[in-house]
Point group: C2
Chain length 448, copies 2
Amino acid sequence: MNAFAMNCVGHQSHGLWRHPRDHSAEYTHTRHWVELAKLLERGKFDGLFLADVVGVYDVFGGNPDTALQEAVQVPTNDPLLIIPPMAEATDHLSFAVTCNLSHEPPLPFARRMSTLDHMTDGRIGWNIVTGYLDSGSKGAGKGEQVAHDIRYDIAEEFMSIQYGFWEGSWEDGAVVRDRETGVFTDPAKVHRVEHDGEYFKVSGIHICEPSPQRTPVLYQAGTSSKGMAFAAKHAECVFVGGRSRSKMAADVEKLRALAVEVGRDPSDIKVFALATVIADATAEGAKAKYDDYCTYLSVKGGLALVSGWTGMDFSDPEKLAAGPSSSNAIQSVAAMFADGAATGAEGVEAIGLSVALGGGGPVLVGNGKQIADELAAWAEESDLDGFNFTYVVMPETFEDIVEHVVPELQRRGLVKRDYVDGTYRDKLFGHGPRLDASHPAAAYRKGG
Amino acid sequence: MNAFAMNCVGHQSHGLWRHPRDHSAEYTHTRHWVELAKLLERGKFDGLFLADVVGVYDVFGGNPDTALQEAVQVPTNDPLLIIPPMAEATDHLSFAVTCNLSHEPPLPFARRMSTLDHMTDGRIGWNIVTGYLDSGSKGAGKGEQVAHDIRYDIAEEFMSIQYGFWEGSWEDGAVVRDRETGVFTDPAKVHRVEHDGEYFKVSGIHICEPSPQRTPVLYQAGTSSKGMAFAAKHAECVFVGGRSRSKMAADVEKLRALAVEVGRDPSDIKVFALATVIADATAEGAKAKYDDYCTYLSVKGGLALVSGWTGMDFSDPEKLAAGPSSSNAIQSVAAMFADGAATGAEGVEAIGLSVALGGGGPVLVGNGKQIADELAAWAEESDLDGFNFTYVVMPETFEDIVEHVVPELQRRGLVKRDYVDGTYRDKLFGHGPRLDASHPAAAYRKGG
């Protein structure tokens, strides 16, 4: 069980910042995030999954006006910086954070993650993304984005360097801290990372001492064929979206098969699905909440978001008919919405609504028992390991899950009653803080 | 009054991590930093100044072995991530953080600073550095560093883009947050930053809403002629080092004259000098502490540091005689040590000792009255506005300042008895949270 959020207003629920009980517009304050973290830990959530976008949704209408007006993931603040205070206020909740490797030089990024792994006592994960918005790339000073497939080649090189820093540069036991002999670090146990690749040239040691997990828990969300091959090789957790359970089941099966092909165990990858839950003590109460929320939905906001995801301008039926304008969009998402887009204005409105409420994923409405039934059936049907729950109203949606859904899931033995000790990786997989030997990162280790 | 520290072991006191009362090796823990911040706020320090280095000191002996063994600023963690929990635990203490712009893409960096300015309620400053270690540049995947002078040309462009994002992209009043009309941001008041320069091409809006100060308080520490011209134009606070008060006085005078030349007031720049204070209730007690500390000093550690600063290998008398091998070193520091280096082994040992204890700056030893006398005379003589106090033993050095020195300075009216409200800039200059009209950033503002 993850909560899904972003350091911005509204995230996946467009128009809902207008709701009188929504507090997501308080995202600039540390207190807002600390309170959320405490709530999630009270509800025994495994993690808080933080999305991120460096850029703005400016495909809709060819400008960022709608995104700005409706606060569609803009303004948005840095996700890394809210983690240390949340970690300090909790003991067990873990944090999976999205960072776009296109914007991160190898050594400073390796250090950021090592620092977070230290500060959280090993409760950190990294959601590996390569970016899909040209606006982000232009803001970073790089011009237009490089093509989708090449981005994964760059990502392969980037991962190799990161594994070198995290797993290979400092052996276990390199840090001696001997006050008597005056040796802090044994230089013989620290090794240079030498990488002379097509996209990066790196030569140097990691500048952080080994952190509890070394490599953070690795998340990935790509469902293109390149993306899935990348996930099968590197990811420990995969995040999937979409409303079709049969399509999801097929994707999950394919992903686990690909993992086996590269020498991993199918259970080495935990799969989480996007879900929105609107829960109450009674079915009627939940339905009333759903109806109330719907009066705030912004179709335009949803369409601005989906336009950015797909590279298709949903404000213009003609352009829409011509298909995606950019090969850099999230291809799997573009395919998902292509059929709806082809059905004209009604289809487009339906897409806007479905994205505005819960980001295009399933919306489950009911009492605890009904929600638990749905989640259990779906997890069974699609071979899922868990869910990333997005919110409609912050923090009400999560409060409702903690109050009405978690106790029911606990009664059925579907979620834990309490945390086990240890790092994020310990909690997820139960075999220690480090990546296991079948993961490609293990090949980078040096020494005893 | 600033405290000077770094997210690493020891920082400017080499060998002192071995001292039984030193806690600097606990830098990986959030609690360590939170306790320091609370201590500094209790002592009415204005700020915590955080140094940073992305890279390793590998000039000494041509390898990083000494730096590793003696923990000379390696391992070192990210400085940004420790700020949010410290800000959350304090109300008034400000934070000035060193970030090397060579490693920061423009938009993600603008966002990092805006996020910190939000999370600290405007208590953030940025120490602008361009880097001096080839090892850092290689670790970031960029090969060797670009030459010193060109680094300042790059910095000029970088600043222009940052001012565009921070000051120009979102007008005052752009964020409406009107729940009735559904307008979060008025798109007419948000503007693109268009920069087509030699080193950066950027086109896009800032993705953060305006923070309390917008541009963080700007620090700089360069004393080369290019560096000083840069500081005179951009800096609000300048950090100077060295033991010669007359040289410092001349530098400060030159700096203030340069500021006037570019249309600023000489008092628009606050100058802070590096100082190490070893204080106790009595002169004898302080002297005993000093003697005790000296038994832990690592000359080799000091020399590894100064070798990295200057690009001169202090492990090798022959190479040393040949002068600096790299034009990328901190030129002012190289000049400062060149004479000592020329005097042979004894001179080199003296340099090692002076750097090992307090980073080459003055070390003041005494009771509160003696220290206050020294600081007051020096500030007068060199036209200083304040000091960056480095530590010998963490946190003992700061505890001693708070207990023995601050009350004496307060009695004399040399430091405040309590904080004034407002942002870091309010506290330093007293005319509001924003940069004033004579600063070049003001030209980037748009709208009413």
